[in-house]
């Protein structure tokens, strides 16, 4: 799985820690997500997409 979390995060000038705080997870979880090493639950994916002002389909790519 690949994600565009880093790209959207940087557009909003958020650090990994700030995004983690807003989403309610640890910074390590955001690191894993950006590296594509973790498949989040639908709930977490939705929360991340909403925080980054985008959609799940834009942020996450299961290919």
């Amino acid at each position: 799985m690949t994600t565009r979390i880093r790209e959207y995060r940087q557009k909003l000038h958020l650090t990994q820690a700030e995004l983690a705080d807003q989403v309610g997870v640890r910074r390590e979880t955001i690191v894993f997500l950006e590296q594509g090493k973790y498949n989040p639950s639908l709930k977490l994916a939705h929360t991340i997409a909403k925080t980054l002002k985008s959609s799940i389909e834009e942020i996450f790519d299961l290919e």
Binding site: G24, V25, R26, E28, T29, F32, Y38, K43, L44
Partner: protein
């Protein structure tokens, strides 16, 4: 209870329990040790009473530790691996004691080995039943 879960994190390496992550957590541990040492000097009842309160508080802290979904999944897999290793060791120990009993070197199997194995199996069964009924939110 007394300690707050925000002062601690789950112990990942070297056993089970909690590890302090804030100065309040370290102070909690230090004060607990000092009190237990003092209680031990005063009376055995006070010591064991204090120890029971401490154990209950630690269990409460562990039960209320905040974990995100990744940490919950990692913990579940790590605990599963630990449990399987312990089960294997218990079964090997039981077979070893059965063999020793058969050869007359030992009088039966240590009941605590059997209690550990069966109580684990019962807790696993209850957990499966309960979680399949209740579902998992995370």
């Amino acid at each position: 209870m007394i300690g707050k879960s925000s002062w601690f994190q789950r112990r990942k390496y070297g056993g089970w329990g909690i590890t302090p992550r804030t100065s309040q957590g370290w102070l909690y541990i230090l004060i607990s040790i000092i009190l237990l040492v003092l209680f031990r000097q005063i009376s055995a009842y006070l010591f064991f009473g204090g120890l029971a309160v401490l154990m209950l508080d630690i269990l409460h802290i562990m039960a209320t530790l905040k974990k995100d979904e990744l940490e919950t999944r990692v913990e579940a897999l790590a605990e599963r691996n630990g449990a399987w290793t312990m089960i294997a060791a218990l079964i090997i120990g039981i077979f070893f004691q059965v063999a020793q009993s058969a050869s007359g070197d030992l009088q039966g199997v240590d009941p605590f080995l059997l209690i550990a194995l069966f109580s684990g199996a019962i807790v696993k069964s209850i957990s499966n039943w309960w979680l399949e009924r209740k579902g998992i939110d995370k």
